[in-house]
Symmetry: C2
Subunit: 251 residues, 2 copies
């Protein structure tokens, strides 16, 4: 029987056994919350107490948090890529967002029933600040401007989600893969315009097709030099964005 069921991600992608590495306790220069914290000194009563912002490394493939679990931390990404997955109740799984440096995850703990709404997994080696919800709430109370940061983050993720629906959920597999490559190129390219290609399984979970279909499209793009290895090392790639854009438009 043929259906568009997305297979559940293999266990190898959720290796709970891989532990994150605690790096230190510090303010972060690269994320909104931490920047705010460090930019404006806190109230005098807090000035002496150590700030509970921890810095963690999550190795590629490790789980940052699980859907529906009740923990008390929000994370901001300093470096690397994080995927947020939702498992459809039929057993499948779908990636609903790819996030990178500057993005915050787990914001849903600030409103509602304080359980995570996704499973967050490190796509590559990920570098995060872990901030306790209680600390954010306390800080908000004494500095309402933080609210704007949160609204911005939420609105930004909402825009991403809508873009996801339209660009990655519409059109042929060929068009969707083209869209995904443009997204990776736009958001995750390094200074040289090269980006790391995520694996086929993740690509399939992003655009809602099978691994084989994605592989065919990627292989075809490689053969057409639309997608080129940038350096043999590290699976860095560059892409011809104008050709991808035309593919996006036509078929």
């Amino acid at each position: 029987m043929q259906n568009r069921q997305i297979p559940a991600l293999k266990e190898s992608h959720n290796p709970l056994s891989i532990n994150s590495e605690w790096i230190g306790r510090e303010y972060c220069e690269n994320c909104h919350f931490c920047k705010l914290f460090s930019a404006e000194p806190l109230g005098s009563d807090d000035a002496n107490s150590p700030q509970p912002v921890d810095h963690f490394l999550f190795p590629s493939g490790s789980v940052i948090y699980n859907n529906n679990t009740h923990r008390k931390f929000i994370y901001t990404i300093r470096h690397g890529m994080v995927k947020l997955t939702n498992n459809a109740h039929n057993g499948g799984s779908r990636i609903v967002r790819l996030l990178g440096p500057g993005d915050s995850i787990g914001l849903e703990l600030l409103v509602g029933n304080n359980s995570y709404h996704h499973t967050a997994v490190a796509v590559d080696n990920v570098d995060v600040c872990r901030i306790p919800v209680s600390f954010i709430k306390k800080t908000i109370a004494e500095r309402p401007s933080l609210h704007n940061q949160i609204s911005h983050q939420l609105q930004n993720q909402l825009d991403l989600a809508d873009q996801w629906i339209v660009a990655l959920g519409t059109g042929t597999a060929r068009q969707r893969v083209a869209h995904l490559l443009l997204l990776l190129d736009g958001f995750f390219a390094d200074g040289n315009g090269a980006f790391t290609l995520i694996n086929r399984e993740d690509m399939a979970a992003v655009i809602g097709t099978t691994v084989e279909t994605v592989s065919r499209m990627i292989a075809e793009f490689k053969r057409q030099n639309i997608l080129c290895k940038y350096k043999s090392k590290n699976s860095l790639y560059t892409c011809n964005t104008s050709m991808l854009n035309t593919i996006t438009l036509n078929a």
Copy 2:
């Protein structure tokens, strides 16, 4: 050539000539913002000035606002259903959200470059409160608790968008239509558990298929008595949610 292109909605669905009807100037009992406004009296300087919250009726099919336009109003829905559409840049169009009473639209004006991120169209006759952005911002300044309302709305819409990606963008056409019916039944059913079926074109724009495919699925569900006319009048329907749920799971 076969592709999953979504055709642009016909002009009949964007009849700018249909004008909204101004009803009055009043506080709304049915929406968060207005409820807040009326629950807690504003500062003394505002108490005497008339509140600029207007009440409008938008007839079915009329445009509430257009994507990328710069206007200065946020709307909260009192009654009826509103669709938010995004046109993929290849000319197609896709419905990214269906919203109903209690939901707010246009919140993106509160952050960023104050232009709307979608086109909002009344699916049936819609009853809204129109609130100026400047008024909301002013009110927020003197009552930061409103921030929580906004965060809630944003988080709620983010959850809806994610659900949209997973439930309505994954699986066979049959499964997606089943999901859509469950969504309509869950969110838009009246006291008797009956809901108004949206037209096939909108359904197709929701789940990302063609009108014909949707029609086939709906017709099949009708024949199987999974979807039944509730009253001959007004295209009200009821559905067998348990059977729809099993369809959702299988194929």
